[in-house]
């Protein structure tokens, strides 16, 4: 025996045990039955005060007034369509939910209806609390977003504003270098060169700031074309070779297997190599070793940049990819010439290519920075 058959004969116990109020009335709106929960809620009332009484004397009059429940019951009797429920507010902040169902006897003749009432005060309170928290959260998020946008906007404006003075300075440096402003002596020429390289550095910092604000506002555009990662690596290694040479570091490039071309932004991937290799050179001692290994994998081209430099502490390994992270807590002891943007930009670029970037490292032994670029 399964389903409703198995509980036939227990209807009474089941109805009595239901934790909602159940009242059955006839066409005259006289009460035929009220379950245990009704008496539990209306302690003063005994069965003999309730049965045969009109509904309006059994439930509080204001309730009738407010809900027009009597009209609704008549409507159910008339149409045979259940009234599917409404919420009702009691004085004192109580909330009830009620439904009215027709009880058909034989040939669609409705002689009784059953009224279910449920206390939903707690539920309503929780719902309101939830809605409140949601609104608060949403406001906080909006505020945060606005602050963040303002900050990005500021960085963007600041770096754009810096471009004009840099251009003016750069123009005069070039005019000096070209001899357009008269011949320079050896000393002047040397000093102009220092100014020139410092301006170049400043331009890179400004570009990094702009890239960071582009990454934050998701305005970093990737212009894809077919690129050869090994060619990019070679080009960057050529350019940075002089820097590594100054520290007498041994730099090598290993290509494992024939490499697939990938769809990517050549200029941006060059930037990734540049940032990672500049770091490797910077954080590897004199006469240290830096190996670039590019490997063809089933779905990716994988680049590892392995150095035997100072390494990255475990606790910092995820933080180093955050912007403005420069290795130690104090902003006064940080190394000059860095804003802690290189790795954040590299991460942003790799992720914009749907690749991954991470570091494996042990303090004192060296670091391996790895990034993957998907083939398709």
């Amino acid at each position: 025996m399964k389903g409703i058959e198995s509980v036939r004969g227990y209807q009474e116990e089941i109805i009595e045990a239901i934790p909602s109020t159940i009242i059955v009335v006839d066409r005259n709106l006289e009460v035929l039955y009220a379950n245990r929960n009704y008496y539990a809620k209306s302690v003063a009332k005994k069965e003999r005060d309730v049965l045969g009484e009109r509904l309006s004397r059994v439930i509080p009059p204001f309730l009738i007034e407010k809900t027009r429940i009597d009209d609704k019951i008549r409507e159910v009797f008339l149409t045979g369509v259940p009234f599917d429920g409404d919420q009702l507010r009691y004085p004192g902040g109580m909330f009830y939910f009620y439904k009215i169902y027709p009880l058909k006897e034989g040939e669609a003749c409705i002689s009784k209806v059953v009224i279910f009432m449920e206390n939903i005060t707690e539920l309503t309170r929780l719902e309101e609390e939830l809605r409140d928290s949601y609104v608060k959260l949403e406001n906080a998020y909006d505020e945060l977003k606005e602050n963040d946008e303002m900050k990005s906007e500021f960085i963007s404006t600041a770096s754009h504003e810096l471009r004009t003075p840099i251009t003016v300075i750069n123009s005069y440096i070039e005019m000096f270098e070209e001899g357009m402003l008269g011949e320079l002596g050896i000393v002047q020429r040397e000093k102009i060169q220092i100014i020139s390289s410092q301006i170049e550095h400043m331009i890179r910092l400004v570009e990094d700031m702009l890239d960071t604000s582009r990454l934050e506002s998701r305005k970093l555009k990737i212009h894809k074309s077919s690129i050869k990662v090994d060619e990019i690596a070679r080009k960057v290694l050529d350019e940075l070779g002089r820097l590594a040479g100054l520290k007498e570091q041994a730099v090598s490039l290993t290509i494992e297997g024939p490499l697939s071309e990938i769809e990517g932004d050549g200029r941006r991937i060059t930037q990734v190599f540049n940032n990672l290799l500049t770091n490797a050179i910077k954080y590897t001692h004199n006469k240290g070793k830096i190996d670039v290994i590019i490997r063809d994998e089933p779905y990716n081209v994988r680049v590892s940049i392995v150095d035997n430099g100072i390494g990255v502490a475990k606790k910092d390994q995820s933080k180093i990819f955050e912007k403005f992270f420069t290795g130690n807590g104090s902003s006064l002891t940080r190394e000059s010439g860095r804003m802690g943007l290189g790795l954040a930009i590299a991460k942003g670029i790799v992720e914009a290519h749907k690749g991954r970037i991470w570091v494996e490292s042990e303090i004192g032994k060296g670091s391996t920075f790895i990034f993957t670029l998907p083939k398709a």
Binding site: P165, T167, V168, N170
Partner: protein
């Protein structure tokens, strides 16, 4: 983008031949930038006129009929793109090079659509600027 062609020997001397008597209108709201443009261009034998915003550029263009205009974008009163459009309206053959502090890719297209012949992002190389001017005048 125009490739940088090599200018052999004394840069100043050779360029004088090409740019002698050339009239240029430079439009920028930064006076120092205007001064730098003037110094660069006068050293190459150009006649230089200045405008501090797009509106002034319109009047100066009509008065002086310059061979080439160097136009900034972000300026008070009238921006460089609108000014470019208005100049091209009156003189479809106007040769305008937009020189922007903003390097957004959409912006370059917008400038070219407005009628600019070239888009250069600050900071630029003086040689690159001079080459762009040469190519425009020759073409």
């Amino acid at each position: 983008m125009i490739t940088v062609s090599s200018v052999a020997g004394n840069a100043g001397e050779q360029c004088d031949d090409l740019r002698g008597d050339m009239k240029l209108l430079v439009v920028d709201d930064a006076p120092e930038m205007l001064k730098a443009f003037r110094d660069i261009l006068e050293a190459h034998g150009c006649e230089v006129y200045e405008a501090e915003n797009g509106e002034e550029a319109l009047t100066k263009y009509a008065d002086m009929k310059p061979d080439v205009v160097l136009m900034d974008i972000l300026m008070p009163r009238l921006d460089g793109i609108s000014a470019t459009k208005r100049i091209i309206q009156d003189d479809p053959l106007a040769k305008i090079i937009v020189i922007s502090a903003v390097g957004k890719s959409g912006l370059e297209k917008e400038c070219l659509v407005a009628g600019a012949k070239e888009f250069i992002v600050k900071p630029f190389k003086v040689k690159e600027l001079l080459n762009s001017i040469d190519m425009l005048v020759k073409g």
